[in-house]
Symmetry: D2
Subunit: 405 residues, 4 copies
């Protein structure tokens, strides 16, 4: 381990990563560089700087990555209608590759030979950080203190803090019992009271959304404008990707939208209970499907649907930075050129109701779909031939005595 | 056409199929057998018998198929978590193969050489009826009057009725402007006011569900008991498949659950707007995923997710009676043996909130998932090796200069 | 039919399309434009001009499309390792979209309102021509005489020729009994003696390849140079795509390589026996897999393998000109950037034996693969963790009593 | 390690596993049980017993597993037409789960608490053994000496042998330089001269097959009889699965059939060169596709083709004993009920030429496929409607200005 001279640490400013910073200094006798990102988690980052300085850290990076996160990670993912195991919006998963990328950039910039993170050895995040780091910088060394040290209980951590003068904020009565992660796309909760899959979370766990019960009694209508599969304006007001997400988080959360409560399958092999609030994400998935419904070709749409579970799995498992994710992204992005237009939504007490979709490039043709005179575009008699030929193989088999019942 | 002597007609008792019955008698000079099915659409069927008798029809079949429909068609489909294009619960699609099967059985029983149906030449139902019929009886002849006759406007139909003494019920002010279909799984609406994808449906279109606004202010909690992937009891009361669906339709509809409003891609090639109420279906999909989340192996679950779009497409397109659907069903059913346990749900104003899942065969292991002492089941250090080997190909590529950015 | 004034006919110069030219003139009273393409089928095309002129046709297009065919159709397809039903190299399928495209271009150029082709109503080619034409020119009219006329026997055709002074070449003893199609990629045989799937084709059916028995007793070695997935040189001699194919057809055919004898499933629903000679194709598929084996990432390669059957099916069924084929092509092409290097092959009596592959961008790393000191790139102890975590879900299930036996 | 009292060792009788036996005795102070399987590798197993006895081993299991291997592992795999990365017949992969199963059975029988194997830490076999063992016996302990000890060079091994009186057979000039594995399905070669992917293997490496050059100048014809997808007779002589394989290995190997020379992607992350002889496997894959070509429904066949790469990957990676492999197997087996009939093959100097296939359950219908009068089974005019409806979405898109070129 003596070959490590400088370590870039993904540093939140919280207790755990503060302990890690100190532990790395001691254990590796290495210079520490901290990296703290604003991904829209809604926390002040300047305290992190203060704390890092207090530990004698010289190189402190605090970056506002909100636009990059929304534009280059979240938005491409939503083009795919990605959802993991039918329920999870990948809020944590999609943030990790950006952090990994930035850790590597900073390592390159500062001449560090290692990175470190505060993810435990039982979760997915260690995998996501490290796969990304290795893919972008194959000789980087990775330090995951939770897999190495013996500070494996709250008591030992506290003792370590006391011993090393690491300040422990004693937010009386305020400390959440849950393990949480937040960014523009979501906030997550794990552990403690919700470890039992039969237990309903208490209402005060949820921090970002009103409950459907507490949401306004009047619905909110919004209109989203899409360009090439991405939202570019809300209610005709042009917005950047991060602005879109901030706006939607606010309005959807206010209307009781965005809660997920699941048991999911981790890449490292176990099932885990997780609760999530993803207000903007809920709206974006629903609306994107709606704009695609009128602008996307049927068979391209179905192929996207077949590819999606794999794509979501790749992101969940930490393979954003991989040839196979890029390959799927190329296919997905190829379909979005004409995904332009508007979707009108009604938000009401947890419901997202699509009440209109329109596009200059709509493939919906009222005349063909209905009984109106369609000027010869569709001859009903063609259907007989269509059916006859599609049935041919089935009829031949039936004539040969094959049974389907 | 002179080779057709007897025709089994899928007969609803409504105006269209009454006209068809008469038209077939005249056009084909053939004996007509009517078949009317109770699939849970919630209509009296005896009037259909009366009307058929009035047209001189001798062989009249009126069958209660609700249990068979729920047990052998709807339930197997929900084992797959099937949903078409991310939104449609396949309510009409899944009923057609049962009707096709029964038409063929009756044709065999009565010595008929043809079947007829009232589906138009622009829709999916013609395909579903006919593929099913051909697959089960390859020499059957199929008559689709809407593709043949020239009664292609409301006026011509009315004139035909008048000419042939077919009674037209004049439900003043009550006639819905929509084209509708209903069974235990759903009721659907097409045409008229909702042909424009930008137009929000009027509230009085919806017949089965309360709006979220009008739903009760107090939530309803229910517990579903699963056995091998199927619901066998609600709130500990054992129920048959059809009873399950009737119960869930009632309680979910009451709570504002089950509305879908989409533009979908028909198998015959065009996009079409459709609105649907599927109260039980909404609950069943959500709850099935929840019970699977604790009882199904991860990789089996992911494989199911990858197969699902194809499976749903097959059902939508009319290939229930096909080798490929049976093949997928075999894979799906193979996974359901241990999908046993209970799901607890909170229903509230359009929301279905999973608040608990439990199973004697749960694969969720609290000790492994969390920081508790897991008695050696999981060694965090293993994660390092897991990541290293998964990263190997990415690192080798990066060392060779491959770029992912 | 009176609205058709000018028809572009895909004209081979053979008997069938000559009859069609005459029949179209008579039946549609329309001007005929002939289009004859050199796709490498190895026939003189000037006689086609003569014949067309003799029928009074004014606009005669004879195009050498060999390079476009090889470069824009065959080569992209081989990047996907496409093969239909495990055996068929898609030789006819891949030529049809180019002909469809050119028919439409000529129709646009000459102001024609229809196209016509000589494919029958039982085959795949009608579908391929027409889907392509409709996709590229949605208002085009398509005439498929074989589906319309009553010249449905050899006798009637001959009578028509006599009546209309269409010269019938009487190549005594030379007329093949098979229905054939040829281009740079293959020559195909259908019908007659090989209709019975139990019958072995007679040796003299095969026109392009020597039999393995008759091939030289000495092997031929060749080296193929790949750039971005395409062959750009053979034995270090730079060649255009069409030159590559011509060269490989010659050398592979000489060595007894390229014969396929199968029963395949047509898109129109029936099974059909087909025999094919695809000498260059056999070599290209084998060699492309070999160069990919050292240059392509594992998971990208596996994803390609999973996509391939669908991609091949799309081409077989006539959907080259479709959003979904473009979508898959985008994914496939995305992977080929580094598919560069050389493959060395030994060709001998029907065998294609890969005897070497090398690449500056090879991902093969001898040190990591073997027992050599790998300078820490691979720590065997990592494998234990890798296995443990991959086994975790299986162990948890086994502990819960799940049985796999 | 003191908790291990008895270890079942997969024991070949060769040098490496003899060293392991001794090392385990010393290192773990545990009782050793040896298990040696006859999988058709063509070696005497009694010497293994002698050697084990010489080391003081009391419980020695020597099992003839040839029929079980062929019937329950190889045959089911060939029903899927499984092939890894387009080239590898999975000869080693498919043997490992049987060995894992038997190791666990013996551990249960003898009260052992651990198993051990001689696979290295860089290969796939360790994964296959261990995933199988854990899946079937979740609390078993696994010892992989190659990952643990420091005998990581030939010299150290030899020194260990000398020190512990382990006899080293000095087959002068006979010792192959390759790492090899053999069973009924194949023999494999890795390492040494073929580590360089550009190097052609020397002819004397291949032990099971004649070279095409050296194969007879006269072809051999054979007829395979299939029942439910499995070969049950050759040339009308009924044979057991293992007999089928032995017979085919002989006749195909004699005719120069079965050599594979590839670079493959290991599950543990690196690329590796491997050479294989799989004479029976080559024939079985080709013939199975041929019998399926006339007996299997088109869409079931295509779905099988799409599933195959995943199925092959699962077996390659060691997941035979997994819910997802069982799920795919259920789908595959579901299709084989009617895969009955005969395939006639010509074997000649490396070529397997299908020259006939026939079945009482053939779906091939000569009348429908050809120009013969098909008695109304197929109306060519239906094709127009079939094409028109399949083209509809493409035409609508083109009318809206979408470009495919």
């Amino acid at each position: 381990m003596s070959d490590i001279n400088k370590i870039v640490l993904a540093y939140s400013g919280g207790l755990d990563t503060s302990v890690i910073a100190k532990w790395l200094q001691e254990e590796y006798n290495a210079e520490i560089v901290t990296f703290t990102a604003d991904l829209g988690q809604g926390e002040e980052l300047e305290p992190a700087r203060k704390k890092a300085e207090a530990m004698g850290i010289k190189e402190i990076f605090i970056d506002d990555l909100r636009e990059e996160f929304a534009r280059d990670f979240v938005f491409p993912m939503f083009r795919a209608n990605a959802i993991y195991e039918g329920e999870y919006y990948l809020g944590t998963s999609i943030a990790r590759p950006l952090i990994a990328k930035r850790l590597i950039e900073i390592a390159n910039e500062t001449g560090a030979d290692a990175i470190a993170h505060g993810a435990t050895g039982k979760g997915n995040d260690q995998v996501r950080f490290e796969l990304g780091a290795y893919a972008l910088s194959p000789n980087i060394q990775v330090i995951a203190p939770w897999r190495e040290w013996d500070l494996n209980s709250r008591e030992k951590l506290m003792a370590y803090c006391e011993e090393h003068n690491i300040p422990v904020e004693n937010k009386q009565g305020k400390k959440s019992p849950y393990s949480m992660d937040a960014n523009l796309l979501h906030i997550s909760y794990e552990g403690d009271l919700i470890e039992d899959p039969w237990a309903e979370p208490e209402e005060d766990m949820w921090l970002w959304t009103k409950s459907p019960e507490a949401a306004p009694d009047e619905p909110t209508y919004i209109e989203l404008t899409y360009k090439q599969g991405d939202i570019v304006a809300i209610d005709d007001k042009a917005m950047s990707p991060a602005e879109v997400m901030e706006h939607l988080n606010k309005v959807a959360g206010e209307n009781g939208i965005g809660r997920t409560d699941i048991v999911e399958n981790r890449y490292v092999g176990m099932k885990a209970r997780g609760c999530y609030e993803t207000p903007a994400g809920f709206v974006m998935l629903k609306a994107h499907r709606a704009i695609e419904s009128i602008t996307l070709d049927r068979d391209a749409a179905h192929l996207k649907d077949e590819m999606m579970p794999r794509y979501a799995e790749l992101i969940y498992n930490g393979y954003w930075w991989s040839p196979e994710r890029k390959m799927l992204q190329a296919a997905i992005d190829q379909t979005q050129e004409n995904v332009n237009g508007k979707v009108r939504l009604k938000l009401y007490k947890g419901n997202i109701i699509v009440v209109g979709r329109t596009s200059d490039e709509s493939l919906f043709d009222e005349k063909i779909a209905t009984f109106e005179d369609d000027a010869g575009s569709y001859d009903q008699k063609d259907a007989a031939g269509f059916i006859k030929l599609n049935a041919l193989r089935l009829r031949v088999a039936a004539k040969k005595g094959r049974k389907l019942l």
